[in-house]
């Protein structure tokens, strides 16, 4: 199985490299280190979100409410800052991460305690969270001039050559990687998605594990909420509308199986970067930005077809082993 996983990540690296070469042929400046750093920075939020979505998808669930959660947390962060500019920014971030985790835990509880299918739960909470933003803000925008300078400056602040936003995503990648590969909870995510029945017999609480996955995706959505609002310096009801599909697309492209149990942190990161490179390259090579949606749709379909083939191959190998025994 690790062979296939490696294969998928190498495939993605090759795909991204090929993409970069193709872009360079028409616009050499794109691969300049400074520009690549900019592309990475622009993709940072997607990476952070894809990591959370990955944990949820690994457990055979899905979180369609991530973008709405992000928007709600972003609005709350902006409102706290607009009303009490003296509150230190780390405290604001801490508050929205907790809020995001709480919103995620609502999804998790509904899936865990009531056994409602994840897609229905998160479809429902998606509209509820979006609507709540309207109730909180009364439909008003919070604009740049209402936010304090410190609030807007943090993600942009340079630190050892890269903006803090990029470093935060690096930190998130490292943390989730350690969680997935070095902790019992991380292994439980894989076990629950790979075979829920077997997971029960090995003493893993399937519902609780899913609940934790939703808390993680919620917390990361909360963090992204602050980052999004401070980066674009505006908060309103519809920020990041439809972004949940980009997040799922990044995961699917990264080789995370929608059927659960298969996927890796490098895959999620590379999947996000693939979309990020396309998004940043389109205007550069003079393709209408309107084409982006169709391209990501095509990429999702191709990726899921490739995923299915990889999973089938794995199935055959297991059968042969069973015969040998």
């Amino acid at each position: 199985m690790t062979k296939i996983l490696k294969y998928r990540e190498i495939l993605l690296v090759i795909a991204i490299a090929a993409l970069l070469v193709a872009i360079t042929l028409r616009f050499p400046g794109f691969v300049a280190p400074a520009n690549l750093a900019r592309v990475y920075n622009d993709t940072s939020i997607l990476i952070i979100l894809a990591l959370g979505q990955m944990a949820v998808i690994l457990t055979r669930c899905i979180d369609l409410s991530m973008a709405a959660n992000l928007a709600l947390c972003g609005m709350v962060a902006a409102m706290i800052n607009a009303a009490f500019p003296e509150v230190p920014i780390p405290l604001v971030i801490f508050a929205v991460v907790i809020l995001g985790a709480a919103l995620g835990s609502i999804n998790g509880l509904l899936v865990w305690k009531l056994d409602i299918p994840p897609i229905v739960v998160t479809l429902g909470t998606l509209t509820i969270y979006r609507g709540t933003i309207f109730l909180l803000s009364n439909g008003a925008w919070i604009n740049a001039h209402q936010m304090s300078d410190a609030f807007k400056a943090l993600p942009r602040a340079p630190l050892a050559g890269l903006p803090v936003l990029s470093w935060l995503s690096v930190l998130a990648i490292a943390a989730v990687y350690l969680l997935m590969t070095r902790t019992p909870v991380g292994r439980a995510f894989y076990a629950v998605g790979g075979n829920p029945h077997a997971a029960v017999y090995t003493g893993i609480d399937v519902g609780r594990t899913r609940f934790l996955a939703y808390c993680l995706s919620g917390a990361l959505a909360g963090l992204s909420g602050y980052l999004w609002v401070s980066r674009y310096a505006v908060a309103y009801v519809d920020i990041a509308a439809g972004f949940e599909l980009d997040i799922i697309a990044a995961c699917v492209i990264g080789g995370i199986s929608i059927a659960g149990g298969i996927g890796s942190v490098p895959g999620a990161v590379l999947g996000s970067l693939f979309l990020g490179v396309i998004k940043n390259a389109l205007p550069v090579v003079n393709i209408s930005p309107f084409a982006q949606l169709a391209i990501s749709g095509t990429v999702i379909i191709i990726a899921v077809a490739v995923n299915a083939r990889a999973e089938k191959r794995k199935g055959r190998v297991i059968l042969k082993k069973a015969e040998a025994v």
């Binding site: 479809l123 509209t127 509820i128 609507g131 799922i248 699917v252």
Partner: protein
């Protein structure tokens, strides 16, 4: 996405009569809710009971409900189609293109229906031909179909539909009964018969309950599923004709987010999201309730986004309540 319950005792046997009874009571519950909503609305606003107002209110749900019928069958068969709103957009764009090439109303209808069926066929081929999970495929085609509309239209809009084209969305067959409402009623009957009175309908239930068993009892699972996605595409094409005709213009963002409302309607109608159970009359009632609630809120000046909170709460509680109810009953039985 969905999978079986984990404790072996909880595996539901939907053929049992208790499940049947529960199902029947679901439709009657919906009927009670519908009457309740109707009564509350007529007290809450003096304008509600006007026949023309009520007729206007039906436009809130007719287009979505037509798709919901086909979607109900897809969900009963254990699949899902999230691309319906994007099919509406692409069909509408294709019709707009046809207008700019100088085609007249009959040809526009052909183009609209054809695009819908073609999109459905693409979904069906990817899902049954390649054996891919429908939720991811249709998330992909959802981006693809709307993306194509964006490529064709960009930030522009198609207008200038011929006057005779306006009939589908704005015409009235008799008195206050609009063409759309009549079409909705006709499809309600057709889909009820298709699902509840034909072999095809039985096959849909069989696939939803146990795909492998269905296959071994001679149901052509792939073909049935393919037809279901064709039907969903066709219904989205029809809805697109009605919506485009009603609005008289096409933008690539047309019908954004409608797939959620369609799925909500289907689930509210008592169709199990896990597949295998549900009825068309339930979906009809759910469409009616959602339309009346939206209309009533509109008369009371409740903003659309607040209604969407209500729809979200409705969606979750509608599924949670039967589960809690079944649990309470089990506790009483023990």
């Amino acid at each position: 996405m969905a999978e079986a319950h984990l404790s072996p005792r909880a595996i539901p046997d939907r053929l049992q009569s208790r499940g049947n009874r529960l199902l029947k009571s679901w439709e009657s519950l919906l009927l009670v809710v519908a009457v309740l909503v109707f009564t509350i609305n007529s007290f809450a606003s003096p304008y509600f009971l006007d026949p023309w107002n009520l007729s206007d209110a039906t436009f809130n749900f007719t287009e979505k409900a037509m798709i919901a019928f086909a979607m109900a069958l897809v969900i009963i068969a254990g699949e899902i189609d999230l691309s319906v709103a994007s099919i509406i957009a692409l069909s509408s764009t294709a019709m707009g293109l046809a207008v700019s090439f100088g085609f007249d109303t009959p040809m526009l209808v052909v183009v609209g229906l054809g695009t819908g069926v073609l999109c459905g066929a693409i979904n069906g081929l990817l899902i049954t031909g390649l054996g891919l999970p429908s939720i991811v495929v249709t998330i992909g085609t959802m981006s693809l179909f709307r993306g194509l509309s964006f490529i064709i239209l960009g930030d522009k809009a198609f207008t200038g539909y011929p006057a005779s084209f306006a009939y589908f969305g704005q015409g009235y067959v008799w008195w206050v009964f609009s063409f759309e409402l009549v079409l909705f009623a006709v499809f309600a009957v057709i889909y009820s018969v298709l699902l509840h009175k034909t072999n095809f309908g039985r096959a849909v239930y069989a696939i939803g309950n146990n795909q492998t068993a269905a296959l071994f009892s001679g149901v052509r699972v792939g073909r049935v599923k393919f037809i279901l996605f064709l039907l969903t595409g066709l219904m989205a094409g029809i809805a697109s004709i009605c919506l485009t005709s009603r609005l008289g213009s096409t933008r690539p963002s047309i019908a954004l987010g409608v797939e959620l409302e369609v799925v909500t309607m289907v689930v509210l109608g008592g169709v199990s999201i896990l597949g295998g159970s549900g009825t068309v009359p339930g979906v009809v009632l759910a469409a009616f309730i959602m339309g009346m609630v939206t209309f009533g809120f509109g008369l009371l000046n409740v903003p659309g986004i607040v209604m969407s909170i209500f729809v979200g709460v409705l969606l979750i509680s509608v599924i949670a309540l039967p589960i809690l109810w079944a649990r309470a009953r089990r506790r009483v039985a023990h």
